[in-house]
C-alpha cells in the first residue's frame, strides 16, 4: 500500500487532548470530530488537511488518553498516514482499528519539512521525499492483518467463529 501527500508537520508529545479535546468526546460522528481535530494547537487544521495530507511528528505522538475519537478525527479530517518518531501504544492501536496507517521513522522531523510531498510504503516503512529514501518501520504482523481486515471487529469475524448474538 503506497500513500502520497503533502506534509503537515508537528513536534514532540502531541497528546490526545490536542488531537481532540475532551469536550467533544460525547460523540463519535467522524464529520463532527474532524472539524475539531488538533483544535487547541492548529485551529486551521481541518481546512489544511481536507484535501488529504501526511502528518509528520516527533516523539510519542498520541500520548495520553485512550479516546478512540483521536484516530477517528484525524482520519476524517483528511490524514492519510502519520509518520512519527514514535507513537503512544493506545493511539497506535486505535489508528490500526480505524484504518489510519502509521509509520515509525526516527529523525522524521529532521528529515522532512512542512509542505514536502512524501510517498509512504505502509508495509515496508519506506518514506520517499524527493530523491531521498528514508527507512522507517512499517505495519507488520498482527497489526497489518487487523488494518487489512478493516479493524479488530472485522478481523474477529474473519478469524474466529464468535457467535453474533446471545449473551
Amino acid at each position: 500500500m503506497i500513500i502520497e501527500g503533502p506534509v503537515l508537520k508537528y513536534g514532540d508529545k502531541i497528546d490526545t487532548d490536542i488531537i481532540i479535546p475532551a469536550r467533544h468526546l460525547k460523540y463519535t460522528d467522524p464529520n463532527y470530530l474532524a472539524q475539531h481535530a488538533m483544535e487547541p494547537l492548529d485551529p486551521e487544521f481541518y481546512k489544511k488537511a481536507s484535501k488529504g495530507v501526511v502528518v509528520v511528528a516527533g516523539k510519542v505522538f498520541g500520548m495520553g488518553s485512550s479516546r478512540e475519537q483521536a484516530a477517528i478525527a484525524l482520519k476524517a479530517a483528511g490524514v492519510r498516514v502519520i509518520v512519527a518518531e514514535s507513537f503512544a501504544r493506545i493511539f497506535y492501536r486505535n489508528c490500526i482499528n480505524n484504518g489510519l496507517p502509521l509509520i515509525t521513522l526516527p529523525y522524521a522531523t529532521k528529515e522532512i519539512k512542512e509542505g514536502d510531498v512524501v510517498k509512504v510504503n505502509v508495509e515496508t516503512g519506506e518514506v520517499r521525499v524527493g530523491n531521498k529514501v528514508l527507512n522507517g518501520k512499517g505495519i507488520t504482523g498482527m497489526a497489518l492483518d487487523i488494518l487489512k481486515a478493516g479493524g479488530i471487529m472485522e478481523y474477529l469475524k474473519r478469524v474466529s467463529q464468535v457467535p453474533t448474538q446471545g449473551g
Binding site: D12, K13, D15, D17, I18, P21, A22, R23, L25, K26, Y27, T28, P40, L41, K59, V60, M63, G64, S65, S66, R67, E68, Q69, A71, S86, A88, R89, I90, R93, N94, N97, N98, G141, M142, G151, I152, M153, E154, L156, K157, S160, V162, P163, T164, Q165, G166, G167
Partner: protein, 415 residues
C-alpha cells in the same frame, strides 16, 4: 524466560512461555469501561452485530467522567449504558454514587497477577496491586468484552527500586514526577516498569496507586508494584480476603534498573504544559494560583485527604479549592476521620467520585488565563478547560499549602 513479573503474568495469561517482543493473545481477567468510553464500546459492538459477553462476572462498569451528568447528552449516554447493563444483566455496575473506575478496581476487583484491560488510559492504576493493567480504545475493549482475550506485544521489563522512607510531605506523586523528570515522557514507551519496594510499609497502596496511575504519563505499557505484605494487607482490609501473591524470580533479569532513595525526595511539581517539565515546588513558589484541585484517580485517596486536612486545619483557603475523594468509600473514611469537615470549614467545595475537573469536564473547569494547581495526572494545554489556562501538577501537600497561601507553596515553608 527470565522470570520478571511481566513475563510470569503474560505467560500464565497466554498459556505459553513468553519473552519481550513476542506478540501474544492474552486471556483477560477483568474488562472495564466508564460512561464516556462505555457508550462508544457498546456502539462498536452494535455496529458489528456482536452483542456477546465472554463472562459477565468479569465486566466492570462505573460512571465517573460524566457523574453526575452536567448536560443532556451526558445524561443520555448514562441512560443508554444503564439499559445495556440491564439487558445484559451485568452484575458489576456502579452508578454515579460509587466512585471513579480505577479506584473501584483497586478497592473491589483487581488482584495480583491478573491481566486487566479497560477503556481508559489510567487503567495502569491497578498495577498498584501487581496486576498487568492497560488502557485501550473502545474497539479493542469491545473485542475483549466479546472474546475475553486481547492481543499485545510483550513489553521490555524495567526495574525501579524504592529504598528508605519518604519525608512527611512526600508521597506517590513525587515518585511519579521524579521518574518523569529524570527519564522524560517517551523513555518507557514499550516497557513495563516493575517497582520493588524495599520497605513495604513505608510506601502504602495509596502511594503506589498514584505511581501506577501515572505509568501512562511515562508511556509505559504497564507500571506494576511487585506485590508484598502491604498488598495482602490492603486487600484483606478492603475486601476481607486473603490473596496469593505472584512475584518475580529473585534473579529476574531486567533491561535496566533505577533506584530512588525516598528520603531524598522533596515536593515536586510538573509545570505547564508537559508532565515531564518537573521542578521542585520551591523553584516555582512565586506563581500565583486561582484554583486548586485535590482529587482524581491519581490522588483522591484517604492518605491524600489526610495530608490536605493536616495542612488546611484551622486555615481559610486563599484560592478556590475543589476537593473530590475518588470514591464513596474514600469520602466516607475521610468523613469519619474529620478530614471532610476540616476542608469544608477551610472553604473548599467538596463532592466525591467524579472525574469532572481533571479532564475539563465539569465541577471546576479552568477559565482563560487561570492558573491551576491540581493533584490529577495531566497538564497538557487545554486539558482542564481553556487553552489559555496553565496547570501545575503536584501532590496533595503542595496543593493544600498552595490553597492556604494563594501561591505555589512547599508545605515546609508554611508559617
Amino acid at each position: 524466560m527470565t522470570g520478571t513479573l511481566t513475563e510470569k503474568i503474560l505467560s500464565r495469561a497466554s498459556g505459553r512461555s513468553v519473552s519481550p517482543g513476542d506478540v501474544i493473545e492474552a486471556n483477560v481477567d477483568i474488562v472495564a469501561f466508564h460512561d464516556l468510553t462505555g457508550y462508544h464500546v457498546i456502539e462498536v459492538m452494535e455496529k458489528a452485530n456482536m452483542m456477546k459477553i465472554f463472562d459477565k462476572s468479569k465486566i466492570v462498569v462505573a460512571f465517573d467522567h460524566l457523574a453526575p451528568p452536567p448536560d443532556v447528552r451526558s445524561a443520555e449516554i448514562q441512560v443508554n449504558i444503564r439499559k445495556f447493563v440491564r439487558e445484559m444483566r451485568l452484575p458489576n455496575f456502579h452508578d454515579v454514587n460509587v466512585g471513579i473506575l480505577h479506584e473501584l478496581l483497586i478497592e473491589k476487583y483487581a488482584l495480583p497477577g491478573q491481566v486487566i484491560v479497560a477503556a481508559d488510559s489510567h487503567t495502569t492504576t491497578s498495577g498498584a496491586l501487581g496486576a498487568f493493567a492497560q488502557g485501550m480504545g473502545a474497539s479493542d475493549v469491545a473485542a475483549a468484552v466479546i472474546t475475553g482475550k486481547t492481543w499485545m506485544v510483550v513489553p521490555q521489563p524495567f526495574k525501579v527500586e524504592l529504598t528508605g522512607t519518604p519525608g512527611k510531605w512526600v508521597n506517590g506523586k513525587d515518585v511519579a514526577l521524579k521518574l518523569l523528570g529524570d527519564f522524560k515522557a517517551d523513555y518507557f514507551n514499550g516497557m513495563s516498569i516493575e517497582v520493588h519496594v524495599r520497605n513495604p510499609k513505608a510506601f502504602p497502596t495509596d502511594y503506589r496507586a498514584t505511581v501506577s496511575n501515572m505509568g501512562i504519563e511515562m508511556n509505559a505499557d504497564a507500571l506494576m508494584f511487585v506485590p508484598d505484605q502491604e498488598t495482602k494487607d490492603y486487600i484483606k482490609t478492603m475486601r476481607g480476603k486473603e490473596v496469593e501473591l505472584l512475584t518475580p524470580d529473585p534473579k529476574a533479569s531486567y533491561q535496566d534498573e533505577y533506584t530512588i532513595e525516598l528520603e531524598k525526595l522533596e515536593p515536586l511539581v510538573a509545570a505547564p504544559y508537559s508532565v515531564d517539565n518537573v521542578k521542585t515546588a520551591r523553584e516555582v513558589s512565586n506563581v500565583e494560583v486561582d484554583q486548586v484541585y485535590i482529587g482524581s484517580c491519581t490522588n483522591g485517596r484517604l492518605s491524600d485527604f489526610q495530608m490536605a486536612a493536616e495542612i488546611l486545619k484551622g486555615r481559610t483557603v486563599k484560592t478556590r479549592c475543589i476537593a473530590i475523594p475518588s470514591s464513596y468509600e474514600m469520602f466516607k473514611q475521610a468523613m469519619e476521620k474529620g478530614y471532610i469537615e476540616t476542608l469544608v470549614n477551610a472553604g473548599c467545595v467538596v463532592t466525591y467520585g467524579t472525574c469532572g475537573p481533571c479532564l475539563g469536564g465539569h465541577f471546576g473547569v479552568a477559565g482563560p488565563g487561570e492558573v491551576i494547581v491540581s493533584t490529577s495526572s495531566r497538564n497538557f494545554r487545554g486539558r482542564m478547560g481553556s487553552n489559555e489556562a496553565k496547570v501545575y501538577l503536584s501532590g496533595p501537600s503542595v496543593a493544600a499549602a498552595t490553597a492556604a497561601t494563594g501561591r505555589i507553596t512547599d508545605p515546609r515553608d508554611l508559617q
